[in-house]
């Protein structure tokens, strides 16, 4: 490969889209060519720069989209069902028409309803007895009527005696639980949901529900979220929840950590506002002052955080570089 070939292929190389032979040839050339090394550095620079330009769609927009989609699909599903019934001619006829009975008289309706209840009760008893008999005869589970294949995962299939088959099924049963965030079981579920790796929407909702709840378990979960959650909107929400713990030393340490290390400017701005509330009296400790001085030295800090650091240090007559 010559310099020109290397330079035109640098992007594909960084994307990992060159074949193995091309990649090796390119790397061999770059290892011995200062000019191409410069070109590679420049190529990496704009690749990295553009990477920083990607932004996540706002979380509230995602929630709004999901809600709207759910509504539209529910409407479409209802329309579809109505048109199916119309095609069958059932919607106008009414259910009593199925049995060839005129539904005008209450006595007839009552008799029909009693008859249907009787049929249902008798058939349920008959099916129950039948299933018990099958179970005793074959020894296999024949409760497929209470089994929902859509929420099941088949783990294993083996042949069994008498031409039967044994299927090992793992089934997740969904349950609805209702209660206040003070209820221990609800609280624990919300704390667990804060760690749900797949859905930032669930994490934001759980943090919101736990806001205003005291207790070290809530505080620790919020601290963990603020330090580790990959989504800035979730971290921001958790910071709001930490306001009530702002005098706690562990919380303040985490806020200082966030102020220095979080990659998102809004999160850092929220952190400094909790550490040093605007228009409120607060005590500035030496270690907080050192943190603020370090941020002041940071050339690329965003304007708001720098301005707040400057203001706080000036208010306590602390030097901007050495405390």
């Amino acid at each position: 490969m010559n310099c020109h070939q290397v330079q035109v292929n640098l992007s594909l190389y960084l994307y990992g889209e060159l074949d193995f032979a091309q990649e090796e040839a390119l790397e061999r050339h770059i290892a011995g060519c200062a000019l191409c090394q410069q070109f590679l550095a420049r190529e990496k620079a704009w690749h990295t720069g553009i990477n920083s330009g990607v932004s996540d769609a706002p979380l509230d927009l995602l929630m709004q989209c999901r809600q709207e989609l759910r509504t539209v699909i529910a409407q479409q599903g209802a329309k579809r069902n109505t048109s199916r019934l119309s095609r069958l001619g059932l919607s106008r006829m009414g259910w009593t028409g199925l049995f060839g009975v005129a539904a005008g008289r209450w006595s007839v309706r009552l008799a029909l309803a009693s008859f249907l209840v009787f049929i249902g009760f008798t058939s349920a008893r008959w099916f129950q007895r039948q299933s018990l008999t099958d179970g005793m005869n074959g020894g296999a589970i024949s409760a497929m009527s209470v089994f929902d294949p859509s929420s099941a995962h088949i783990r294993d299939i083996r042949p069994a005696d008498n031409h039967q088959v044994r299927i090992l099924v793992q089934q997740v049963n969904e349950r609805e639980v209702t209660g206040t965030p003070q209820d221990q079981s609800i609280r624990e579920l919300l704390l667990a949901a804060m760690q749900d790796p797949a859905d930032p929407g669930i994490r934001v909702d759980s943090v919101e529900m736990l806001q205003g709840q005291g207790g070290s378990d809530v505080r620790d979960a919020l601290l963990r979220t603020v330090r580790r959650d990959p989504n800035a909107a979730v971290r921001l929400k958790a910071l709001e929840g930490l306001r009530q713990f702002s005098s706690d030393p562990t919380t303040r340490d985490t806020l200082k950590f966030v102020l220095q290390h979080d990659g998102n400017a809004d999160v850092r701005s929220e952190a400094i506002d909790i550490l040093a509330p605007v228009n409120q009296r607060f005590d500035i400790t030496p270690d907080l002052a050192v943190t603020l001085q370090q941020i002041m030295r940071s050339e690329h800090e965003n304007d708001y955080v720098r301005a707040r650091c400057f203001q706080i240090l000036r208010d306590v007559n602390a030097p901007l570089d050495v405390y």
Partner: protein, 206 residues
Amino acid sequence: MQAEAVGTLAVRRASERIDERELIRSAQHGDPEAFEQLVRSYDQNVLRMAFNLLHSQEDARDIYQEVFLRVYRNLPRFRFDCSFSTWLYRIVANLCLDQIRKRKVRKESSAAVETANGELDRLQFIPEHRADGDPQRQLMSAEVKTRINEVLDELTPRERIVFQMRHFQGMRLRAIGEALGVTEEAAKNCLFRATQKMRAALGDFV
């Protein structure tokens, strides 16, 4: 109890991932829960892609709705001839391409983004990274970022969508080709042209 609850969530998530095929089949048979799970597996990426391509919350929302409505309507006819993600991204790509082409006619301002609070500069949405002594980041002045956005807007719709899919979505060229209904080589050429343009336009800046 908490560990148990985490375990339950983990099992639920694991079982969601285990077999997308089963999920699709259930959705095809009209299971709304399965369809919702399917949507949730992809909707963040779809919305991000639309948002980054179109720079407009309103347009991204429209694309989101249209994409998943088309999936909902046509899912019963999906025959697993290609992967579900390929099929989905084909819909996304076509809708976004149409929208970008319409936009090209209107020639919108490149750095403007619609938000709930009115129109703001797109640069405000670029996540800021702390200075950590990395010289590459120091090169990324506001001027360079503005120029990058201008160049992205100057790409042809197809170049832009290929670039978006490769650079921001991290999709392989083969998958991009399948989604756009072109060969891998054609997608590669498109990406090549896009990066050449970027390099030429940013030559004086970096």
